[in-house]
């Protein structure tokens, strides 16, 4: 098990809403962190595109070699991420 998989939920949560670069199996992935699954340590990155599309890439926890923070997200980025997978009509959800 790699170092990333051994982290605790509170440590993973620190990455949420930040832009990161993930290194895994000699490849690099960049995007805004939506979540880290506490079961698999899979990290879900989002890149918002023009025309209202978003591309989602998840890197499997077991493959993660490094996660570097590039940028802090502001509250509008946090809101965009929060509403991303919410079913229509349930967008008032918050935590």
């Amino acid at each position: 098990m790699n170092e990333w998989c051994r982290k605790k939920p509170l440590e993973w949560q620190v990455y949420v809403n930040k832009e990161v670069k993930v290194t895994a199996a000699e490849q690099e992935y960049q995007g805004w962190v939506f979540t880290v699954d506490p079961v698999s340590a899979n990290i879900v990155l989002v890149n918002f595109k023009d025309g209202g599309k978003a591309s989602i890439v998840a890197v499997m926890g077991h493959a993660v070699e490094a996660v570097d923070v590039l940028r802090e997200g502001d509250s509008s980025m946090a809101d965009q991420l929060t509403s991303l997978f919410m079913p229509a009509g349930a967008r008032s959800y918050s935590r």
Binding site: L10, Q13, Y29, T35, D37, V39, A54, H62, F85, R91
Partner: protein
């Protein structure tokens, strides 16, 4: 699997539980949003395949997919082992 860390006080345990459920709920929602979408899987040994995502077990060990485009043709129904996967990607409409 996962476990709550050793002897922690109540406040620490609560905040760890809150963080875990926040992260887990978001992950499960991302999987639900992926159902019926075309997903690109990057796997070990330089394998890249496309398939329509149909579901996952809750331990995230297997992805169940349809219309998997393998180098040898289309496999209508398939299971992908998550340990074989490096990353997966898909697109959604994010406009509110």
């Amino acid at each position: 699997t996962i476990s709550a860390s050793g002897p922690v006080d109540c406040v620490d345990l609560r905040s760890e539980q809150r963080a875990r459920s926040f992260l887990r709920e978001r992950y499960l929602r991302s999987l639900i949003a992926m159902v019926k979408r075309n997903v690109k899987f990057t796997m070990y040994e330089k394998v890249k395949v496309d398939a329509v995502f149909a579901g996952s077990d809750i331990d995230i060990l297997n992805f169940q997919v349809e219309d998997l485009e393998t180098p040898l043709g289309v496999q209508k129904e398939a299971l992908i082992r998550c340990p074989d996967v490096i990353s997966y990607s898909f697109e959604i409409d994010s406009s509110l």
